[in-house]
């Protein structure tokens, strides 16, 4: 009941004209980056952070969160119409969405995806509103050892689940950890790897590195291949046939549950629930041969799952202060820049803020539903901008964004260098998400480990004497052993794909 009252209070804030405007801007940019290949939600969120410096924190996060969940909607359109996923979570949608479009049913695929996304997204936000406060209250009992164990678990999950090779995942994670060491040591204040350079004192900026790894590398890859923009199929008839409603709604229900649960597990990404949902739908279907040829459940399930994931993936951020994907890591950065500390105390210390964001997400999802149902055809036209024009424009925006973080060309240079590194990492199939996540998490991990060691007076095994930290560390070890086993047996390809551009 308490949550409901606070949520209503949140709506009061979120429904102010300015916040509605920022919500609209956020979800529109989200749709755009979802539609445009070469610009993903992580880069776009990073790009818009400098713009929010002068803004009220609530409006700023409303806008940035809009990009995050809006991107999931946009990616569907290009997957269905031109067989080119705009973002990673929509790769699966191509499998059945594009065949549907070729049968002249593009409208139905988009309609079902939009309805599923709306239902999945809305239910997961309801979950966030009601599970979030309870989880945050429970997390108040966490001390440094529990937080360390939780972050370790999140990292192991990222490394274990992403990419096709455990070794490459680990390399990415350790690379991120080492990069985060540059600058001042948080505990002793000593300078590490600064080589007397003043701009290295504050370490590498997560926003700049994300723009390089995810943005510039994607531009380089896009400029190398220069995809062809083809003809757009006609979008008409947005609703499925009468006999298709029942299986569609069932797939949407299953997708919602899968997506929501996946979001709660630290270290998962929106691609994973989409993939799980697709294989579930295929497995339980009476006629499996329909899949890949235009099965409506193959679009409804995964599209719902990735949107349901989006809302629930914010739960670990809001309640524990732990990001589970690069985009959420950027959001975490934005929280901190605006003087907010995500974690168990957020619900208590900044209730206005939290509830306004949650309320704005309901509104954002409704705006997205309207944008997607009647206006899908219009958005698809954006994808027809030729890449030879699109990529250079994105490049200039990215350079400008990097410069404006600290008013310095140093950041542009760092982004440039990480763009080249990211390009080769993609080619060598080394996942990039662990790099970004470890950079964010490592300072927190180092501090909580040092504090734990002080509490335990140097006894490492004391981690196993506290039930929560012991459980999480044991789980991490199990996941790691499982990943090593899968790697040795060469079975680690099912959940492949670098996640969230």
């Amino acid at each position: 009941m308490d949550s409901l009252m606070q949520l209503l209070g949140g709506f009061e804030t979120a429904l102010s004209w300015w916040n509605l405007f920022y919500c609209l801007v956020g979800v529109t940019v989200g749709m755009l980056v979802g539609v445009l290949p070469g610009l993903g939600p992580a880069t776009a969120t990073a790009l818009l952070i400098p713009i929010t410096f002068g803004m009220d924190p609530i409006s700023a996060i409303i806008m940035l969160a809009g990009i995050y969940y809006g991107g999931m909607y946009g990616g569907t359109i290009t997957s269905v119409l031109i067989n080119t996923p705009g973002e990673a979570a929509s790769v699966i949608t191509c499998l059945d969405g594009y065949p549907l479009a070729k049968q002249g049913r593009a409208g139905v695929a988009l309609g079902v995806a939009a309805i599923g996304s709306f239902i999945g997204g809305t239910i997961s936000i309801i979950g966030l509103a009601f599970i979030g406060p309870a989880l945050a209250e429970w997390a108040l009992k966490f001390g440094p050892p529990e937080f360390f164990a939780l972050m370790l678990f999140g990292l192991v999950m990222v490394v274990g689940l992403m990419g096709r090779s455990l070794i490459r995942g680990l390399i990415a994670a350790f690379l991120g950890l080492i990069l985060s060491l540059v600058g001042l040591d948080p505990v002793s204040g000593a300078q590490r790897f600064t080589f007397g350079q003043p701009f290295l004192l504050e370490g590498f900026d997560i926003v700049t590195i994300t723009m390089g790894l995810f943005g510039i590398s994607e531009i380089l890859l896009g400029m190398e291949s220069m995809y062809k923009t083809g003809e757009l199929p006609k979008v008409k008839g947005l609703l499925p046939r009468r006999d298709e409603w029942k299986p569609t709604m069932k797939a949407i229900g299953r997708g919602t549950a899968l997506g929501f649960v996946s979001g709660l597990v630290p270290g998962t990404s929106s691609t994973i629930p989409a993939l799980l949902s697709y294989s579930l739908e295929r497995q339980i279907a009476k006629d499996k041969s329909r899949f890949g040829k235009g099965a409506i459940e193959g679009v409804a399930g995964p599209e719902t799952a990735n949107n349901a994931y989006c809302g629930s993936a914010l739960i670990p951020l809001f309640t524990l202060g732990i990001p589970s994907s690069p985009t959420i890591a950027i959001l975490l950065g934005a929280f901190i820049m605006h003087g907010l500390t995500p974690g168990p105390t957020l619900f208590m210390e900044n209730p206005n803020f939290v509830w306004a964001i949650i309320a704005s997400m309901f509104i954002g999802n409704l705006i997205l539903l309207i944008m997607n149902l009647p206006l899908a055809g219009m958005w698809a036209k954006v994808a027809l901008v030729p890449p030879k024009l699109l990529y250079p424009i994105i490049l200039l925006i990215t350079v400008l964004g990097a410069y404006s973080i600290n008013n310095s060309l140093w950041d542009v240079g760092v982004m440039y260098a990480f763009g080249i590194i990211g390009y080769f990492m993609k080619k060598l199939d080394i996942p990039m998400a662990p790099v970004v996540l470890t950079i964010v998490l490592s300072k927190l991990m180092e501090t909580s480990l040092t504090q734990s060691m002080t509490i335990f007076e140097g006894n490492m095994f004391a981690f196993f004497q506290r039930p929560i930290s012991a459980t999480l560390i044991v789980l991490s070890i199990v996941v790691l052993i499982f990943s090593v086993f899968a790697e040795v047996k060469n079975k680690k390809s099912a959940l492949a794909g670098d996640i969230e551009m």
């Binding site: 400098p50 713009i51 002068g54 090779s165 070794i167 490459r168 680990l170 390399i171 350790f174 690379l175 950890l177 080492i178 060491l181 040591d185 505990v187 002793s188 000593a190 590490r192 790897f193 531009i219 380089l220 400029m223 190398e224 291949s225 220069m226 030879k388 024009l389 990529y391 250079p392 424009i393 490049l395 200039l396 925006i397 350079v399 400008l400 410069y403 404006s404 008013n407 060309l409 542009v412 240079g413 440039y416 080249i420 390009y423 080769f424 080619k427 060598l428 199939d429 080394i430 180092e446 480990l449 040092t450 060691m453 002080t454 140097g458």
Partner: protein
Amino acid sequence: MIRQNAGIWAGIVLLLFSVFVFWQSFSLHYRTAFGPGPGMFPRWLSGILIVLSLVYIWQSARKEIFRLSEILPKGEGLINILSVLLSVFVFMVIVNRTGFMIAGTAMLFIVLFRHFKWYAALIIAFVVTLILFLIFKPLLGVPIPVNQFGW
């Protein structure tokens, strides 16, 4: 054969990097009177990365082989990538003197002129830069690099 193996080359670069960090970590204190010192994390992390790079090199030689010829861009793709890299480099070198309008136009022109007629490329480059300038500076108030005339 080995010289064509991109994984091995990447592994060697990674190994050199981690050995360098490992070596550098010895200039930091491993322990302090209160507990772990600033050198503890760097030493362990780079030590583990050394082991990981060695396993990666071994794996690249035996299991999944990425050939250099498949990884490095070639032909038109290579020229496109080089033009992107050159354009950002030129932007960084000149922007503090020329300001955003000239540097941005030059940057876009370098990437665009091979795909459009030169005058069309110049016009597109200028118009896009101008639009971005107007959106970012007067409208959003975001600091961008400008010359003495304010553009």
